[in-house]
Amino acid sequence: MLRIAKLPIAIFALFIIVFPWIARHIPAIDHYTDIMVFAGIYCLITIGLSLLMGYAGQISIGHAAFFGIGAYISAILTATYGLNPWACMLVAMFITALIALLVGTPSLKLKGHYLAMATLAFGIIIFIIFNEEAEWTGGPDGMSGIPGLSLFGFEFDTVEKYFYLVWCFVFAAFIFTANIIQSGTGRALRAIHTSELAASAMGVDVSRFKILIFGYSAVLASVAGSLYAHYINFVNPSTFDLFFSIKLLIMIALGGMHNIWGAIIGAGLITFLSYEWLHFFEEFEVIVYGAILLLVTIFLPQGLAGVPGIVKGWFRS
């Protein structure tokens, strides 16, 4: 999808602006605004990840690690050292980018299964570090006392204020990413995804692009992590475990990885399923996730974002 239409973005923006007002006036969905905050946070991660997986064709089963690194750096610097949260978010982005560079450079030379396993191993090692280095991270019981966010004295201390804050970030990321896709970088990525050999024969610096996008997706995840930490004012390692990395994969697969809207649809749906609609299944919601993932892989490889295309295809034939 090379041209990102402006109208759907405007309509979606309108939806987001009025959503809290609607939710407040319907008691049954009053708490949906809260859930939408998390949906927004996860959207930040999936937007980056869909660029990495859908456009550049690289797999990462360890992205929860970057989410966690952003969250913990923000947490440690603000709670233990009392530094300015916004500055800490920038520091977290920088450190995450460095780590992504360090890990990505050797990893992205690998292909397919090897890359998947390298990211998987990386994700788990980071998780183990969060658990073990209790002096810094508070260990398995987590770290509390993380301050909230405020800007020039305006405190983001209610659900609705944080909702708008997070979704501003999402829109910024969306538009920035859409620009990347429509630029020369985006074309280079599509070329790499189709055939690395051909792309490099055409003069595309394959490694540089892959690492760039890997770093970009890591930084977005880090921002999401910081926002998460300042919202719940608490972090613990189990939020950033392997299952969360897999959940991110499910979001991308369900939404559709070749389309940036897929990132939003997937994150939104899975968040609501997770926190609201699958209560009936309790802990067996994992079976639903497995089933969704399998069915989508077999029957709907383009994800839900690919559905309009399929329907148009029906009408044509």
Partner: protein, 300 residues
């Protein structure tokens, strides 16, 4: 309690390492069988081990079948699950790419794990040791008889597989598929059936590992993931696709874990296997016994 000498400690670490390494080796062998025929990495490999343990508990403890009957019954049932995996998760994919296949096997592993949680709950289950629990003391270290059963079954599995792949027609047919699937089907080999068979074999071997290790460390529904990851590490360390490599890799990783936990830090025990995996991937992806040429012609 008398003090144990450092040498005996080292011996103990080695014994534990070889035992747990044998389980990783069996998982790695399972990976290799499927990989050799299909070039797919089956993320659900660890779940076969888990199912082996739990289904054995069902047959032997709940139903009361004697060991000699429950063992094959369990292996057969898990083999069927493996075949189901191929039929329902792998075969239906119309345009297989690395990404879709990885995701499909991840989905399958989540489903199997969820089903196991539903059937057996979250509690661990126990199996009686095959030949009792009287420990054998050897140079100051302690060997449980069950450890010998685990290592013994690894040896039996390896010998059986070697005979199968080198001496039987079907085994050779499977090897042919691994080398070149198109050529194989041209000479009349039903590639789809070979793939099914590879899943069946893998599942069966996983089951054996699960059955033999449960009397030592119990078994619960979510043991599969870490086993799969470490088993994969073993397969890569030894060279993906090589059976002797899988065994070597498994035993090495098991030993590194055991020595690492004993001599360095027990909190980071899981990390040792993962660090080895990453080191191999970064520096020598073809592994110890694998060759670079082979890893380059593989499609994925």
């Amino acid at each position: 309690m008398e003090k144990i000498t450092f040498a005996s400690q080292l011996l103990q670490y080695l014994i534990t390492g070889l035992t747990v390494g044998s389980v990783y080796a069996m998982v790695a062998v399972g990976f290799n069988i499927i990989y050799n025929v299909t070039e797919i990495i089956n993320f659900a490999q660890g779940e076969f081990v888990m199912l082996g343990g739990l289904i054995m508990v069902f047959f032997h403890v709940a139903v009361g079948l004697p060991l000699i009957l429950a063992f094959p019954a369990t292996v057969i049932l898990v083999t069927l699950v493996g075949m189901l995996l191929d039929r329902m998760a792998i075969r239906p994919i119309r345009r297989p790419s690395v990404l879709t296949l990885i995701i499909a096997t991840i989905a399958a592993s989540i489903l199997i794990k969820g089903a196991a949680m539903f059937i057996w709950g979250k509690d661990p289950y126990d199996l009686p040791a095959f030949s009792g629990r009287n420990p054998i003391t050897f140079l100051g270290a302690v060997i449980q008889p069950q450890y010998l059963w685990v290592i013994g079954f690894l040896i039996i599995t390896v010998i059986t597989l070697s005979i199968f792949f080198n001496r039987t027609i079907i085994g050779k047919a499977m090897t042919a598929c691994a080398d070149n699937a198109d050529a194989a089907s041209l000479v009349g080999i039903n590639v789809k059936q070979m793939i099914l068979l590879s899943f069946a074999l893998s599942a069966g071997i996983g089951a054996v590992a699960g059955i033999t290790v449960t009397p030592i460390s119990l078994m619960e529904y979510d043991r599969g993931v870490m086993l799969a990851i470490k088993g994969f590490g073993a397969a890569i360390l030894g060279g993906l696709g090589s059976f002797p490599g899988a065994i070597l890799g498994g035993l090495i990783i098991g030993s590194i874990e055991s020595f690492g936990a004993g001599l360095i830090s027990s909190g980071y025990k899981d990390a040792f296997a993962l660090l080895v995996l990453i080191a191999v991937l970064f520096f020598k992806p073809s592994g110890i016994l694998g060759s670079i040429e082979i890893s380059k012609i593989k499609r994925f």
